[in-house]
Amino acid sequence: MNLFPTGAPSAFSRRRFMQGLALGGVAAGLGWRGPAIAQSPPRRDVLDGTQFDLEIGAATVNFTGAPRSATVVNGQLPAPLLRWRQGDTVTLRVRNTLRERSSIHWHGIVLPADMDGVPGLSFMGIAPGESYTYRFAVNQAGTYWYHSHSRFQEQIGLYGPIVIEPRGGERHAAERDYVVLLSDWTDADPEHIYATLKRHGDYYNFAKPTALDFLRDASDTGIARALADRRMWNQMRMNPSDLADVSGHVYTYLMNGCAPAANWSGLFARGDKVRLRFVNGSSMSFFDVRIPGLKLRVIAHDGQDVEPVSVDEFRLGTAETCDVIVEPDADRAYAIFAQAMDRSGYACGTLTPRPGLKADVPPLDARVLLSMGDMMGSMEGASMSGMDHGSMSGMDHSAMKGMDHAAMMHAPAAVTHARAEFGPGVDMRVDTPRTNLDDPGVGLRDNGRRVLTYADLHSIAAPISADTQRTVELHLTGHMERYIWSFNGQKFSDAQPLHLRHGERVRIVLVNDTMMTHPIHLHGMWSELEAPDGSFQVRKHTVVVQPAQKISYRVSADALGRWAYHCHLLYHMEAGMFREVVVA
């Protein structure tokens, strides 16, 4: 245990830390500092075809001024872009040169269970010095990504994009096509971050409500209202500013491996249609993405084509992908701005008609606190551990500032909680979750921009499951102070696998009994999100569940084998928010 662990910056170096180095990444780390090289961005290979050789190894990188060791593929961070074609069978020989076990999981790809790359479930992982050959038929198209499924290797660089060309060509023509991979780099050791969260779950939150905030609110709105605003939160020992467990305090947010100062750029000619394939390859971060001055026409989500919808901004959950088409029509640079959900930092880059231009980066939006609806769902009532129900009836509803109607659904859905949810490992339960999908989420509500919601996403393809035969309900649970995360109050190590009969069509209902937003990823099978009325909405591989929200999706259990099912926030997964799903 180190008294002064590396990673967290002091206040004076904070700006460089957030902005990163103009010449960051692997190249800088290797000492290629010639002026000619300094102009070129870090190397990013595009590997095409059906045969791929990938080598997992360590490399020195430098994003903030301090050299650090990263886990990379073929010497690159992010890992090379893999281009496949729908209908091909691909062979990927992955060699591990690390001193520890490694793995690669092909996120969102439907493939045989032993090709899925989850150590312990699909295979034994790739031992140091050994290789594993993945081979599978690619029967889907779109934007996906790949990453390590071993411990914290994903956090320190092992992630890369996958683009699969549709059999019949792209549905939407575009003159330019760029992958925009967002990630969260840290100079700190992820083991240290995890241990720190286990000690103090709020360590990285530097946006907590303060006494000065209280005085300001009291003078603005009166002391009674300022007190009422805080009463519920404090009574329940919940923090309304808890939007991200790990923040810009230790993260430098990257766009295609470039810190903001390095300014990743994509070129366009006036009038071009530009396809941007956004991938959230971060470990713990949600990004709110926009390009000031341009409408984003969303054409695919999680690789699946959707009915196009034009928006100003979208929130991209960890592990989600989103394809948009933009048509820059002015002879100027446009900023691609991806601010972290907790507003503690941002990734950004530039779309530009000429190399070397840099657009003005907009300021970070103001931080927004969670609303009562985020804690209580439909507002009809909620049970928090140790909370006095009687005291709620006397709650002054009119006094709740920041109460957000978008966060509340009118028809509350009653739920029952598993027994383990009443144990010491769960700090909150929501009895009347909301079910609406048309809420962009905390920080994006009523911000004056047209923001994408799941209610806007409609798959073009018909659902795989026309109906369902049974329903499985799981609750997303946790305890912020103890830093425990689980399903139904049971950590992975305490839980039995979830068994699905081969061929059955299941409706999975997720109820978020926490105040955090969780991206839930089922391996091997699609999650076909339903609208609140039960009709098919959109096909996803990672479903974001907002606080106090209840959602449902259909799963066709057509993939034999053992599969991982987990929250894609890496530290939540490691802390137990993981289940094995067995299809037999």
Binding site: L111, P112, M124, F206, D456, A462, D558
Partner: protein, 333 residues
């Protein structure tokens, strides 16, 4: 689906008038509906009523906005489900092109939990440790200077931990009063742990050993709270109550208020303890967290002693009420 008869329109209008009269929200909905109707549908190819696998006719999603859930905010009215810009042949639901994967060639056999942890690199039941020197300070009293500490640490898993606690005070080269506790801490409720263990008292007078049983946790409104009862030989009993609360002035300037009370079942003259409430402390400490782990502070502590002091150490000039200035360091790792 498209053709709306005048009768239906009139009926809809009538309904709307009633609704609008009833609530302003409904007006927003009506407004939204009308806007959608006004969209230039004629330019779009008529989607044939294809049945999807779900058995639902191809539906007009644009017309559905603002229907489910909340009355959509007005911005939602600008939803552009711009089918007209796409290839019409692809604009409506197409059959699923999903292909189920082949079964795995190699099945993973069963593994023990330990093997699983090793192979997956995922251990949700690992042990962690924390050592906190909550107060390590120089104290200025009316009688001179002293050094005081309050330290605690734990090691263990989520629900079961080994706790260590110690507090004490040294002045003029001698250990005045100190104790150390070793406790097994077990989580029993979301914010509460029970603690069971031993306490040993050091310092002036004979050492005392106690069995300890208590509860510790986080009370509503973020009060850290601990209550421990002690039982020792010769029918000695004691009780300690501690509470602290952090007030954030800013993210780094923090005021810690703390309160501690000690009570004893019978007097212990050899250690200068009278039966009943023996002493109470209330302290305010303003710290600056240079890092979360490292914070210097200054503060003031009020110290009140109760009961008559008949101890052999009682020099007669020890005051029952003392206001002390403190300066120190809080750190943890």
């Amino acid at each position: 689906m498209k053709a709306r008869t005048p009768v239906r329109t009139r009926f809809a209008l009538a309904c709307c008038i009633v609704l609008v009269a009833a609530s302003p929200d409904a007006w927003a909905q009506l407004h939204a509906a009308i806007e959608h109707e006004d969209e230039p549908r004629a330019e779009q190819p008529e989607p044939p009523p294809t049945d999807t696998a779900a058995g639902m006719p191809a539906m007009d999603h644009a017309a559905m906005h603002g229907q489910h859930g909340q009355p959509a905010p007005s911005k939602a009215d600008t939803v552009q489900t711009d089918r007209a810009q796409t290839n019409p042949a692809q604009a409506h639901p197409v059959a699923s092109d999903h292909v189920a994967p082949l079964p795995p060639q190699h099945d993973m056999g069963a593994m023990t939990a330990a093997q699983m942890v090793d192979v997956m690199g995922m251990d949700d039941d690992a042990s962690f440790g924390l050592f906190t020197l909550d107060r390590f300070e120089r104290v200025k009293t009316d009688d001179g200077y002293a050094t005081a500490w309050n330290a605690e640490g734990w090691y263990g898993r989520d629900f079961d931990k080994l706790w260590f606690k110690s507090e004490g005070r040294r002045s003029q080269g001698t250990l005045e009063d100190a104790d150390a506790q070793l406790l097994w801490s077990h989580a029993v409720a979301p914010y509460w742990d029970t603690q069971l263990g031993v306490r040993r008292d050091f310092g002036q007078g004979p050492g005392r050993t106690w069995a300890a049983f208590g509860a510790q946790g986080l009370a509503p409104y973020w009060f850290e709270l601990g209550v421990t009862a002690y039982v020792g030989p010769q029918n000695r009993t004691a009780l300690r109550m501690e509470s602290s609360y952090d007030t954030l002035l800013t993210q780094r300037w923090i005021v810690q208020s703390r309160f501690e009370l000690n009570a004893y079942g019978k007097s212990d003259p050899a250690r200068g303890i009278a039966a009943g409430v023996s002493d109470a402390e209330f302290g305010l400490r303003l710290r600056y967290e240079i890092r979360r782990e490292f914070a210097p502070y200054v503060g003031v502590e009020w110290h009140r002693r109760f009961g008559s002091r008949t101890s052999v150490f009682d020099t007669g000039d020890e005051r029952a009420f003392d206001t002390q200035a403190v300066a120190g360091l809080r750190l943890w790792f």
